[in-house]
């Protein structure tokens, strides 16, 4: 049993290393990645549930249930895709730590995401044309669109909070890494929605 | 290690332990027999593998201790070579043994395929919370039998049981005869077995289905084929007419009281399928899905207060003055 610890030898010094970083050098980036994996897989499972339940029905949607409308959902998904270059621009400005531009970019993103929330509410309440409690088809539709919508809502909350920080301060170096992370998360939200849009709004409309 | 003697002791106990008429170790037909032989094979292989592994562990510990105690010099390179060989051989043996088991299992699976080409009997079982509804189908509707809580089968030919559920998931398991099948609402599956000799075999619900899952048994009565034909003929007859005035009064009480709301008796206006069919109640060995032996006293207790015997059951207590109860029992006792 040893009561004393092993003697130490100095073998280097890290005091010159930077105290903030971007991309996968930043430890916070990995947390965002972890949550993207979890949430992405959650959406995959919701989609699997959707596809699984279809086997219990002769037609999809079932007899007596209206097909979903594609107008607003197509507007929504187009807007989302169109927003990707903008968020890419925000990410680049964040890497440069350009306070003024990032501040404007985050504000724009916050406004955009609130638009997406409103459109999502419309998609659920109007475009789907079915209630969650009508039958298993309705439940599955609400599950997929609603789960993704929950992620949208959480993203909105984060963006509004980030907007507040950027306007009301104090802004710290790490907030630029956070802004870059949220631009990545934005891409995740949009890209996961595209196949789900097809599954929920286009597939039930195929003859 | 205390596991070894225990294993041997328990194997010895196995023969005199549980009742032989509800045990997978006492197969009474080819399906359960095939599984039992697979089990003994697996047990033998498993025991050998286990003894070898634990033996190797014990030997390794003993040998290392001896080496340290004697202060023997070690040769790390040689040790490393020997360990590499040993672990590789162990790994390879593991793969071979597992492959052997997999192949043996494939053979068992092939032997257990449903024999649809041969002569067979088809019966339909529907699970309810906490009883079994049994139908013996026939192309002619007048020849169909609906029964409950006792399964009758002939020996010597395959019995195909189509299973489904009326409410929650149940499972039908007669260990002497075959493995189990789950009874799932909106799904129909087929369990098959064949019984070698006549007798009464125990079956029980094997998927947790609520309060009285523990008391959802199903006696399986196997008849020689000629006896089976006789049983089926009796089962097809409508309910026996009451033999005396007391029994007639009993029938009246049954039809005008709450009983007829849930129970059917063919040949009478009572046709509700909410609860078990009672047409041949008196010929059954047990009551309430294997919970009580059938008899006048038990039947009386059941009618008066089912909740005391099987708390949570759907059947409510039926308050009857003693004379009415006697009459009802007289009628039900005549339903052979």
């Amino acid at each position: 049993m040893s009561m004393t610890s092993t003697p130490r030898i100095p073998a280097g010094d890290v005091s010159e290393l930077p105290t903030s970083a971007f991309g996968n050098r930043d430890i916070m980036w990995w947390g965002t990645l972890g949550f993207m994996v979890i949430e992405g897989f959650t959406l995959v499972i919701c989609a699997v549930v959707h596809v699984y339940l279809r086997k219990n029905f002769a037609t999809w949607p079932p007899e007596g249930t209206m097909r979903p409308s594609v107008v607003v959902p197509t507007v929504q998904v187009s807007l989302m895709l169109a927003s990707l270059p903008f968020m890419h621009w925000v990410r680049r400005r964040a890497y440069e730590r350009d306070l003024a531009r990032v501040r404007r970019g985050i504000t724009g993103a916050a406004l955009l995401t609130v638009c997406f929330d409103l459109l999502r509410a419309w998609e659920l309440l109007r475009s789907l044309n079915v209630r969650w409690d009508a039958n298993a088809y309705g439940s599955a539709q609400w599950l997929v669109v609603g789960s993704h919508g929950t992620l949208l809502a959480i993203q909105s909350m984060e963006l509004i909070g980030m907007m507040a920080i950027f306007w009301l301060g104090p802004v710290e170096k790490k907030h630029f890494s956070d802004a870059a992370d949220i631009a990545n998360y934005w891409a995740f939200i949009v890209l996961t929605w595209v196949p789900l849009y097809v599954l929920c709004f286009l597939v039930p409309n195929w003859r | 290690m205390s596991a070894r003697p225990l294993l041997l002791g328990c194997v010895a106990l196995a023969g005199c332990g549980g009742a032989r008429n509800q045990s997978a170790l006492a197969p009474e037909g080819p399906v359960a027999g095939e599984v039992a032989s697979l089990w003994w094979f697996a047990l033998a292989v498993a025991t050998a593998v286990y003894l070898a592994t634990v033996g190797a562990l014990a030997w390794a510990a003993w040998r290392a201790r001896r080496r340290a105690a004697r202060g023997e010099a070690t040769d790390p390179a040689r040790d490393h070579r020997r360990m590499t060989v040993a672990v590789s051989v162990g790994g390879a043996l593991t793969v071979v043994i597992l492959l052997g088991f997999f192949v043996r299992d494939l053979a068992a699976a092939r032997a257990l395929r449903i024999p649809v080409t041969r002569d067979h009997v088809k019966i339909r079982v529907t699970g309810h919370q906490w009883w079994w509804s049994i139908e013996y189908p026939h192309p002619d509707p007048s020849q169909r039998v609906t029964d409950a809580n006792e399964l009758h089968v002939p020996t010597g030919i395959p019995v195909l049981v189509e299973v489904t559920s009326h409410d929650v998931i149940h499972s039908l398991w007669a260990p002497n005869l075959a493995g189990k099948k789950d009874l799932i609402p909106r799904y129909v599956d087929t369990l098959w077995f064949q019984v070698d000799r006549p007798g009464v075999y125990g079956a029980q619900c094997a998927e947790f289905c609520g309060h009285q899952h523990a008391k959802m048994a199903l006696p399986v009565v196997a008849h020689a084929p000629r006896d089976y034909a006789g049983w089926l003929a009796r089962a097809r007859r409508p309910a026996a007419e009451p033999s005396d005035s007391m029994a007639r009064r009993g029938r009246e009480i049954f039809l005008s009281g709450p009983c007829a709301l849930c129970h059917a008796i063919t040949g009478t206006p009572a046709g509700s399928r909410v609860g078990p069919e009672l047409t041949h109640l008196a010929s059954r060995r047990t009551l309430a899905a294997g919970t009580l032996p059938n008899g006048k006293g038990n039947l009386a207790a059941w009618i008066l207060d089912p909740q005391r015997i099987k708390p949570g059951t759907a059947m409510p207590a039926t308050a009857l003055p003693p004379a009415d109860l006697e009459a009802l029992l007289a009628y039900l006792g005549g339903l052979q």
Partner: protein, 650 residues
Amino acid sequence: MTTETSAPVAEAIGSDDDAALAELERVWRPRPGLRGWLTTTDHKAIARRYVVTAFVWFALAGLNAVVMRLQLAQPERGLVGPDRYNQLFTVHGSAMMFLFAVPVMQAMAIYLVPLLVGARNISYPRLNAFGYWMFLIGGVLLFASFYLNMGPDTGWFAYVPLSGPQYTPGKRADVWAQMVTFTEIAGLVAAVELLATIFKTRAPGMSLDRMPLYVWSILVTSLMILFALPAVAIASTLMLAMDRLVATHFFNPAEGGDPLLWQHLFWFFGHPEVYIMFIPGLGFVSSIVETFARRRVFGYPVMVASLVLTGFVAFGLWVHHMFATPIPQLGRGFFTAASVLIAIPTGVQIFCWIATIWSGRPRFATAMLFAIGFIVVFTIGGITGVMQASVAFDLQVHDTFFVVAHFHYVILGGVLFPLFGAVYLWFPKFTGRLLDERLGRWHVALFFIGTNLAFFPMHLLGLQGMPRRIYTYRPELGWGDLNLLATVGAAIIGVSVLLFVVNVLRSRRHGALAGDDPWQGSTLEWAATSPPATYNFRDTPVCRSVTPLWSGDGEPAEALPVVTGLATHRRQILVTTVLDAVPDNRHNHPADTSAPFWMAATLGVTFIGAIFTPWAYVIGFALAGIAFAIWAWPRGDHPEDAVLPRRGES
């Protein structure tokens, strides 16, 4: 490089070290009293309470088992009725699986991993605190409802339609579903932070192929958690809860729903779940065997490959829980093959440990006895598991006491034995004192005897026709004697656990002083003090091999290289590269805060409210927004962080 000769114990290198050390201590010190308890973000403080809380749930669930065993000891005993019995086994299983087995393994990892990789704290300290509070709320929810006689009663896997709105009225199944929500969030959060710690904060020089096997086991487990837990979270928090609360039809056959869908989703989670419990146990055994055989575990690459392969294949087995359902024949064959295959990597690991012992100089301290007990007990469970891979055999023993025997053997053997061993190994690190070895021997002996006596007879009971989850059985079935034997075994297990608790409580105060490195261990945690300082290591250790504290095999190294330069005026950790752990940047951690507690409190209100009304989600979302603002708003404590309005400097 020169070695400082004047200070034999302290890690003194420079001349103004005392001031720097004092500053470091002050910066990392938790606040005093209750405030400290609510605001601490020290991974060790959180892990300690996490482990203790998990053991409390373990003891309560164990009490349930004792009552169940008393009821089943003889036929037709009237100790408890069916309603109470159904709650007993549901809460026993749910608590053991959701509130004990996985959380305690994660909690041990939360304590050990930062130390084993040479870091000052876990990657996300506030998230860590938040995870604990969520876990605590989940456990209180389950046990409070049970003791109020409104506990869940449809089994730990809550099959539908039984647990659906039609057949389980009231709120019991909703309580179960939301308990799952809390524990799943806690589990996912712990997995994310452990992954970030393992990937990005390893000691300089600790490339992936020098990581301790235990850390590899946590890496594999955490990745598995990311993919397994969402399945049950969706099934219970979303689908089952919605069927019950707002009349969705996911599982309602009358409207196109499907009871089998529940089983697929649950077991897609449920099978990996048991490996999530078991793989950290494999990591513990490696640490114990290495330390007490005084030899590096043989076959490092093969051991790592086995862990990874087990983690992967575990996701391909789930249908073996559904062999009695109407699934296609061909599908069954695939799952049989996978269920047989998974035995191979674990078998190889066992052979490697045997080889390690063979070539080492073993000391049979209590921890080592538990590791050996693991091999002896778990192997029985592993073998019966492979037997059940056969569809034909499984159809006889599925849902019987044979299965109960199997999974208790693998859980007691594969989770409890390694866990107890790990506590005996690391208790001196946690507390500075050693657990009593004599009491330890009694503990392991009684636990071993009790386990075998309680569960071996159950194999026979299952084959003799006894199904699971029955509150009583008729005398003529002949199951009484073996059940009585099993009950005696359960009592012995209870006594052994009691001895363990006594040992822990006594040794905390009166145990022999351990010093930093009582076992002459091989890995970095033994270079910290016992117990470690709040900041773990004053200077970050450098890792030169799989056994950084050993020079040759089993011999302690003469000196430990360290890197200096992390700040002492604020909480700072070193971030290194993923593959080779080259120092890359420094990350500043926030000060202690009660924000995680408030966030958990708002989510507690949300999800418990959701038992009763869907509007709880709306209100909860608003409350969570406020808690999030408290969490995320910058304090501005350190002017050096602030950004100038122009294009900033780095």
